[in-house]
């Protein structure tokens, strides 16, 4: 039965599915799982368990990086690559501080294995600004003081910017839904809502 092409719910697929933030709809989650299952069918090369070099496409640039197969994307971004804007808070998918985009879809970098992101387009908080010019969502966060300690801020920005990509005219409820997985301990939520609605050209209700 070893050769049976039975589609199983792999750990890899589960991790990636769970890695999709609450910012994403159920349909997108299902799509990601289906895509992953399809990929798994075609994958025949075993990688690991030793360290290996992979190529990752991050913020429009290709990076060659040595990883262990067990390394999460959050670890790879932060440690070897020095992209520390992506924060790790809970390290198990419950706070969304590590939100990045994988193929334009918000995903939790702490719940995604780096090895699974080869060939995907990764965007981190550092990739949102260009030469020090802030993305409109970042500028609105500054204008509305949508931050205090700032540790949740990159994840919040990634969730809100993704929301505006897929829905340029969100309601307050849409914004709350988009960041419902992003925890903030300082209580910046009201300003996050105001900043995001400001970019959308909506007055906060």
């Amino acid at each position: 039965m070893a050769d049976s092409p039975k589609i199983t719910f792999s750990r890899r697929g589960f991790l990636k599915g769970a890695g999709v933030t609450a910012a994403t709809s159920v349909i997108e989650t299902a799509n990601a799982l289906a895509r992953d299952a399809k990929e798994a069918l075609h994958a025949d090369r075993v990688q690991g368990p030793d360290a290996l070099t992979i190529k990752l496409h991050i913020n429009g640039r290709e990076h060659s990086v040595v990883i262990e197969p067990r390394d999460t994307l959050a670890q790879t971004l932060r440690d070897p690559l020095g992209l520390t804007g992506t924060k790790v808070v809970c390290d198990r998918g419950s706070c969304s501080a590590c939100t990045v985009w994988i193929d334009k879809t918000p995903a939790l970098a702490c719940m995604t294995l780096s090895i699974d992101t080869t060939g995907r387009e990764i965007t981190t908080i550092e990739g949102l600004s260009h030469n020090g010019t802030m993305h409109p969502v970042q500028a609105a966060f500054v204008k509305h003081d949508a931050m205090q300690c700032g540790f949740c801020t990159p994840g919040m920005v990634m969730s809100c910017a993704a929301l505006l990509e897929r829905n340029p005219k969100p309601t307050l409820s849409d914004v709350k839904h988009a960041v419902s997985g992003n925890l903030c301990r300082c209580g910046t939520y009201p300003k996050v809502f105001a900043a995001t609605l400001d970019v959308a050209g909506e007055k906060e209700v």
Partner: protein, 793 residues
């Protein structure tokens, strides 16, 4: 927390020459007055009210906002040094016992491991008054599950995590107790074999020392004035009840952690701390180093809320590992450890209040038992003692030791617990007296700012349309409630800075003070900007480094009130130097120069107006600078401040869910420096207060002694979906106490009041008192009599 520990104000030695000056005084809504004060001769002139100022009191964007929004700010967790190792703490898997042996052999053999360190001394929590009461042991006694035992440093975090699991610890287990009421029983297992006290940390924390101890009960600390029995005899009306609050964990998003680079000539410590000075002092103390050889850096900091002071076990272990491995070491706690390292103590309070028919209070009696785990500091008497005048007061506060992580200062220590009981009891008293609860407070509360704040709430909210308790017919019932807070104008004299002007007109401020996310950097820029007439964004702020003049530890809302006067004084002094140096070049005298509306102008000729840059260009030297330190408060009055928070909520009496729909907060923090930052903090305090009231609760397993929900999915904190509509009104309150007259807002901002205000609104909605936190559906349904009470808290 002993409230006195933060009040390190002393008389200044040195210059005693004084002058008399007239300072703005009072609250604009009441009409501002002036007050004469004797101040030191070299104090800057009095500041006019905010309405007449250019930058102070005007909204200013966060100084480091772009760095935070773009993810470029480097927190301790982000620090990477060449050759740096990653560490993981190994912690106890039993709640009480002795360590028989620790085998680090396998961990050391794991490829990539560079150093293993076994703990020698445990820092934190209480210690036996007489250490001889315990059998001597090579290792510290384990008193809670999760207590640090060892740490491992390796070339990657993954290897360090693997190695930590290979450290083999053999225990000799002892009986334990993790429940406060069980720990009070005469036959309860003893957490300490004799009386124990906790040395307060730099940021407060720690309860009274030297009080009686019976079994696990450390106390009471008794404070009394008048005669409560006589007061109750004189009362026309009395309310008496019991209240229960839970243990809350700080849950800062950045965990406790350090990067230590131990070099023989200097130890560099990157710390996620609320006090660079406290870290430096403790490192020097623990390692017997001169403070001059310890440098502490905190550039960005991911939240503390009272829990992050001093070196801690993490810092000491990181330093030992760095010394051993001869490499920099990063040691951040993981999320589970972060939930165990510190907490807000719980409480069981018995409260009785007596009053006359007109509302005048005749007696207050509060007895509280609370657990700070292996530490002390669970007192709750602040609000009962300091909110309203009452001639007869008796408070008895007890700490109960249990086998759980030590408590720590947590945003307004003791006050959310105390306010939950006290402000609900005041509300209950109003019901009994058939008085409007807001009017009762008008009768018994003398504080001028809260009086104005209540008026604002009357005018701007639905208070007047409040219906009688429990009058909604359907299953969803709506209610309105208020509660009031009190906090104290603590000042730290360890507040110094240097302000520098270069010949090119650039301005820098330097201080070791840290910014926890409260907006300290921005606040400092605004103060310098006002004095020197440049926009706040033109002032370069360099803080969070002990190479700069010492800054206050940020606890108890001391930072703004302590450091802002020093900063204004330094900026004012350097301005005097500038004027003296350049006046001859402008063919005038220094005293004819002043700064108005962002320009240097001649007092006697308004047409002569220059930018700071033009004036600085005439400096005979490349740079001038002035250093200043906080001077004592202008008067010795012990002042309090506070806020009033209003809540509208809906209770679903079928599911037991409470939806907070609207909060209106009216708050005072003296002279607000940057309203943007102040409002953000009040937003945060309100939301943290709702989170405390409705969701948060540490759950201990009685059988294993473990915290069951040491993570962020089972320890629920408030999320975006639970955010109500929030409106905030700031009240300026000038009290003529310092050259800026500012105070911090962190503690009085909502965290104290919200649970009580929600409790009062819940009563208004349902006609039932909810005296137990958190107000989970289970506790709500139990209070409504719809389910059996679960386990008694």
């Amino acid at each position: 927390m002993s409230l006195d520990t933060l009040s390190s104000e002393q008389d200044q030695p040195g210059t005693t020459a004084k002058r008399s000056d007239s300072f703005v005084f009072g609250i604009p809504q009441n009409g501002l007055e002036h007050k004469e004060r004797e101040v030191l001769f070299d104090e800057p002139p009095p500041l006019p009210p905010n309405s007449e100022l250019m930058y102070i009191g005007k909204p200013t964007v966060r100084y480091d906002g772009p760095a935070k929004a773009m993810g470029t700010g480097k927190y301790t967790a982000d620090v990477h040094l060449p050759g740096m190792l990653y560490a993981r703490m190994v912690d106890a898997t039993i709640p009480h016992g002795r360590i028989v042996s620790i085998d680090t052999g396998e961990a050391e053999k794991l490829p990539g491991v560079r150093a293993v360190q076994v703990i020698e001394h445990f820092y934190g929590g209480a210690e036996l008054r007489d250490p001889k009461q315990e059998v001597p042991s090579r290792y510290p006694v384990i008193r809670y599950a999760g207590q640090p035992i060892a740490a491992v440093a390796a070339t990657s975090q993954q290897i360090a995590d693997d190695a930590a699991k290979l450290v083999k610890v053999q225990y000799d287990s002892m009986p334990f107790v993790v429940d406060r009421s069980a720990a009070r029983a005469a036959d309860a297992p003893l957490v300490f074999p004799g009386p124990a006290d906790e040395a307060g940390s730099a940021g407060g924390g720690g309860g009274p020392k030297g009080v009686a101890q019976t079994g696990n009960v450390h106390g009471p600390q008794r404070k009394q004035s008048g005669d409560v029995e006589k007061g109750f005899a004189d009362a026309d009306v009395m309310v008496e009840s019991e209240y229960f609050t839970q243990v809350q964990t700080h849950s800062a998003l950045e965990t406790h952690g350090f990067v230590v680079d131990w070099k023989p000539e200097e130890v560099t410590v990157y710390a996620s701390t609320q006090g660079t000075a406290s870290v430096r002092e403790e490192f020097a103390d623990v390692f017997k180093l001169p403070q001059s050889q310890v440098r502490v850096i905190t550039e960005f900091m991911g939240g503390g809320f009272g829990a992050k002071f001093g070196a801690g076990n993490e810092g000491v272990m990181a330093a030992n590992l760095s010394r051993k491995a001869n490499a920099p070491v990063k040691l951040m706690l993981d999320r589970r450890q972060e939930h165990i390292v510190c907490n807000r103590p719980d409480s069981h309070q018995q409260l009785k209040i007596g009053a006359k028919k007109d509302g005048t209070l005749t007696a207050i009696k509060l007895t509280s038992y609370g657990t700070a785990g292996t530490g002390t500091g669970a007192g709750t008497a602040g609000p009962a003692t300091n909110l309203y005048k009452c001639p007869n007061l008796l408070t008895e506060e007890n700490d109960v030791f249990i086998n759980a992580g030590p408590g720590a200062a947590f945003r307004a220590p003791g006050h959310p617990q105390g306010c939950f009981a006290f402000e609900q009891a005041i509300d209950e008293l109003a019901v009994k007296l058939e008085m409007d609860p807001l009017m009762l407070r008008d009768k018994i509360d003398e504080h001028p700012a809260r009086r104005v704040e209540r008026q604002i709430i009357l005018q701007r909210t639905n208070w007047r349309n409040r219906k009688p308790a429990g009058s909604d017919a359907g299953p969803v019932k709506r209610g309105i409630g208020i509660a009031q807070s009190v906090w104290y104008r603590f000042v730290s004299m360890d507040s110094s800075c240097e302000v520098r002007i270069s010949r090119d007109g650039s301005v820098e401020l330097m201080s070791a003070v840290q910014d926890l996310g409260t907006g300290t950097k921005t606040m400092l820029a605004v103060v310098v900007a006002e004095e020197l007439g440049v926009p706040p964004s033109d002032v370069v702020i360099r803080i969070g480094d002990t190479r700069f003049p010492i800054g206050p530890d940020s606890g108890g809302s001391v930072t703004t009130g302590s450091i802002s006067p020093a900063v204004r004084n330094a900026a004012w002094q350097v301005k005097q130097q500038l004027f003296a140096a350049v006046a001859p070049r402008f063919r005038t005298t220094a005293d004819n120069l002043t700064i108005k509306s962002g320009r240097v102008v001649f007092k006697n000729d308004a047409s002569k107006s220059y930018s700071l840059k033009q004036v600085a260009a005439k400096l005979p030297t490349s740079e001038i600078s002035a250093r200043a330190t906080r001077v004592a408060e202008y008067s010795k009055e012990r002042l309090t401040y506070g806020g009033v928070d209003y809540v509208e909520l809906a209770v679903d009496t079928e599911t037991g869910r409470i939806h907070v729909e609207k909060v209106f907060g009216a708050h005072d923090c003296g002279r607000p420096i940057n309203p943007t930052g102040v409002l953000s903090q009040i937003n945060g305090g309100i939301l943290q207060g709702i989170s405390y009231a409705l969701f948060e609760q540490r759950i201990m397993d009685q059988n294993s002694g473990y915290m069951l929900n040491a993570n962020l999915e089972n320890y629920k904190i408030l999320g975006a979906r639970e955010v109500p509509e929030i409106e905030i009104e700031l009240v300026e309150n000038y009290i003529a106490q310092s050259s800026t007259d500012a105070a911090g807002i962190g503690e009085s901002a909502g965290i104290i009041t919200l649970a009580a205000a929600i409790g009062n609104a819940f009563y208004n909605a349902t006609g039932v008192r909810l005296r137990k936190l958190p107000m989970t559906p289970a506790n709500v349904l139990a209070a409504l009599g719809k389910t059996q009470e679960e386990v008694e808290a």
